[in-house]
Amino acid sequence: MNGLSPANHLLLVILMPLVGAVVAWLMGSRGQQAVRQSAAFTAVATLVAAGWLVIRFLTRPAGLSALEPFAVIEVPWLVEGMFDIRLSLGLDGLSIWLFGLSALLSLTAVLVSWDAIKEKPVGFYGLLLLLEAAMLGVFAARDIILFYVFFEFTLVPLFFLIGIWGHDERRKAAVKFFVYTLAGSVLSFLGLLAIVLWHASQTGTITFDIAGLTAGLQAHPLPMTAAGGWLQWLVFLALFAGFAVKVPIVPFHTWLPLAHVEAPTGGSVDLAGVLLKIGIYGFLRFSLPMLPEASAAAAPWLVGLGVFGILYGALVALVQTDLKRLIAYSSVSHMGYIVLGLFALEPLALEGANLQLINHGLSSAGLFALVGMIYERFHTRSIANLGGIAAKAPWLTVLFMLFTFSSIGLPGLNGFVGEFMILAGSFQRAWAGVAESFFQPYLFMAVSAVVGVVLGAWYMLWAVERVFFGPSREPPRSHSTDGHGSHAHHHGAHDDVDRCDLRWHEAAALLPLAVFVVWIGIMPQAFLSPAAPAIEQSARAAREAFADRMNLPPQDHAAGSSIAATASSLPYSPSSP
């Protein structure tokens, strides 16, 4: 397989789920078992191929610049005169981990649906694989047209997944999710079009190539003055509309709890694990590098919204009675950290935010998957009706605790790394990177964000205590008509509890996530360095614009340098046994 060029490899990875969807459809006549097996096979094959591509990216020849895009495919579409339109795919440091995460979580989504989906399995698995192709594509797109097509294409499968295989209020949730996200993304598309047109008016070339547009816009920035019609502001707000809904940034978040609660487990896994990240990815890919002045001007407000989101999401999570809704609100809180890290604009915070995208993808996907498993067993997600699961399903409990600890940022696990870097970066911004007048609010916001760490532990451990510990509680079984309720339906002696621990496909769905949760926590450097140059490149312009705005001397930190100066003049006498 050495002959496989990276570009073809990438194309193969994106096409595999599509082929798999067709295969699943062909298997339809042979029943649920055949369909789900073929879907699992496709997901595994795609994951292997994607994982191998990620490894090829990480081990690519050292001669190449760290910023060189990898596995580029370009199809000229209209290259003539002023038109320079190509469809182009490729990977770089910004997208590589999200690309891999999409492939990983798609397998999780297939495996957690194993027993849960009994009706119309063909449609379900077909849509799930379609969703996978769209997620892989959105991170691999190198031009705006493809990005937007894939971006919209993530919506459609999920709309049907929620609307058909969801829970009681699935219609409402699906429509709300679809309309809300679509309304935002249409505005985003207008913003992107405006960028293309502005670029064309300045350079005389119509191109949709993201790299080309970024370079062009940094050379000919959109006007930020009243004379220029505040164009950069308008475009920023247009992009913001789409991305903020997707993230979601409070107060544009209300579609999320509803969608999560109603979605089937597999849909929740993809939604929380990958789709929310597209919003942040959009900020990093488009807003920061293309609209640096507007991003810098908006940064203080977005930092504020991020911190508000952290506390707001955590507090609302605290009073939830539905376990899945609680975790949905925890997502709102966690995405607040990422927004904070993004708009702190410090390298440390940005890299932390980027890592936290992956971390949250792993931990929230794991938690949603586990909630789904609990629901399959006990037919309720109500925290009040659950209890003492630890005695019945010890390994399920162990994994839930692991993802909980990851989610509340316990050191040694992945969540801590990102959270710590984001918070340290925010303090750095508050300390030395802001003009005097902003110092106080920034420091206040940074400290408030740390308070969120306490609240995060509160609601998660409260839920763990109620659901997993305490005396074993038998939830009321109102609709035990379907297959699962019956086998554990005797209410008699509870002391020797019926074991209902993880089955093989459930363990297989969660263990890969658990491995990464620990691995990233112990050795984060391996996950930070591939992305670092790309993040720096996309954020540098915004950081410089911010420094200009705040009248700061760029790249200067008084505290560190003065101490280093005194230190070098001092005698040093190392003494070690």
């Binding site: 609302v316 316990l410 305490g470 050795m523 505290a559 046994p577």
Partner: protein
Amino acid sequence: MQDISPATLLVLVPLLPLVGAIVTVAFGRLLGSRAHLPAVISIAAALGCAVVLLAGTARLVGDGHGGPARPVEMITTLWQWATVEGSQPFSIPVALRLDPLTATMLTIITSVGLLVAIYSIGYMHDDPGYPRFFALVATFVFSMAMLVAASNFLLVYVFWEAVGACSYLLIGFWFRKPEAAKAAKKAFLVNRVGDFGLAVATFLLWMTYGTLNFHDTLSADGVIMPGILGQTRLADAAGYVGGIVGTAICLLLLLAACGKSAQLPLHVWLPDAMEGPTPASSLIHAATMVTAGIYLIARSCPLFMACPDALTTVSIVGATTALVAGLIGTVQNDLKRVLAYSTISQLGYMFASLGTGTLLGFTAAIFHLLTHAFFKALLFMGAGSVMHSMGGVIDMRRFGGLRRVMPITAATFLVGGLALAGVAPFAGFFSKDEILASLHSRGWPDAHHEDHHAAAQKGYATHFHLAASSPENAAVQGENEPRPLSRIDSPATFRTLFWMSLFTAGLTAFYTFRAVFMTFTGPTRVPEEAGHHAHESPPVMTAPLIILAIASAVSGWLLFSTHALANFLAATPSFTAPAVVATAVKPAFHWDLALQGTLAAAIGIALAAYGHLGRRSDGPQMERFLGPLQTLFARKFFLDEIYTALVVRPLEAVAFIFALFDRRVIDGLVDLVAGIPFAVAAVVRQFQSGLLQRYALAGVVGVLAIVVALAWQLRG
């Protein structure tokens, strides 16, 4: 062991228990009733490594008679945890350190850990969670060893939380008991409040000092990057910031220490933590984890020396906690809770000692930490032994004369009690004496002139007051502010604290012997839960008791008479800061203080004997003299209720309002906006009814609306 390098040994101390834990998790089911083997063997091996390291470090330090101690440290860097380039580079190596303080702590952790693990073979025997327990204990020993061996603040934070997580899992070990699950959550959350302090302190340290490493590092181009507690900065008289930032950092570190070491106002989790298995209480909530706060402050003492206010606050918090917890301890009837409050109180002593900001105070705190680890572990295991044979009952009012039933437990408990009460020549007497001496030296500085002169002549240190006037020390304290910064850092404060501590010493003796007399003397009474075969615990449980009893009996005298520990600890880099060295005094035995301390203990024991010796333990005892105070103490000064009312309920109310706001207002607005197209459509549909009068009405309403709107405009 000759050809194994110290660096390897240092890595092995935490690594072995980790391997033990992993093996237990992997093969626990298979090992069955032998699931303790990986943990016991690995911790024993770790203890071996720690002892070799201790001996090696001691050899390097020398006998301590050659003038001021030279700092001794060794750093080994394992891998780069995270590096981020930027205007202020963020570079975190996974680096372990070895110095006298670390070596001492490692030895305490592994030795108590081993004894607890052996004891648990008997205590946890037949528990369905047997393998889980040993896996957790081994994980805890790993985390705790890493905490004291870590050489940067980030790693300290990592293992600070890791030991908290182990504690959470061990408190909630019997997770089916709702109280245990609740206590575990409470412990974690209260500790999280402390962790908040450590996190913010870490960020501020990083911003202030440009690094989080303790040690100095060499950059690629050969420039020394001074660490926060590295020798370069320690030698630099102006190396530490004071003022608002410095004080904020120190107070945040103190908050963290208060969380982990259960000091006011964050002590409320420790008594509840007694829901966990007794061996876990003994190891984690008495001997080791709760001393992490003392370790942290001792380690970062140069930071505190630049902020006298923060330092004094440490003392005030410590002495107050010691007193309050002692008072609460006097009315508890649950044997384990008496010991829990006693732990809080003794930790308070250590804080009081640290806050004096003298070399004597720092070494005395570590000395007391060491002796306390032995005798408190002993007392807890003794309580566990009682609980084990009494069928799980721990209410002292239901016991009596147990010395006849379980003589070994009774004898060893008595030794532990004597050590805790500070009776000569048991361990607690000597360490408590040093703590009182350090407080006394700050309260009555003139009385200690002699010591300073003597020390100065021996080359130990310059005189206290001379030190303050010499230029480089003036720079240490000055630059930002002169030494007598405020009113709280004054002899009068320390005099008050001294008297409080002395009173607490009496209280300690009282509640300890109240427990001893209630449990082990009087007419023999065994609760019916014990059945007919109440008996002494098996040898696997009593052997650790005996070993610890010997340690509690002799360790104080041994270490005090030779000054071995104080000399050894003085070579810890943090204690070689000029500001600390300047406070060094000649080691001395203070007859006057020893007499006062002994008198206090004697009064306490006598009162306990008057109230409880030889009586039935279930009658009204000393409480009747306390009147309303008894309620106050028994309800723990109502602190739990106050926190619930002032913190938990308001937050829950805010959360409830936010949730309501979320559903009604934010989501309502979204639905409203989304509803506009439908509403418009519906309205328009209505109007196209074809009825003329409707159209006419609409026209009239429209005109009216315009008129009203115009009038409204004109009005303004």
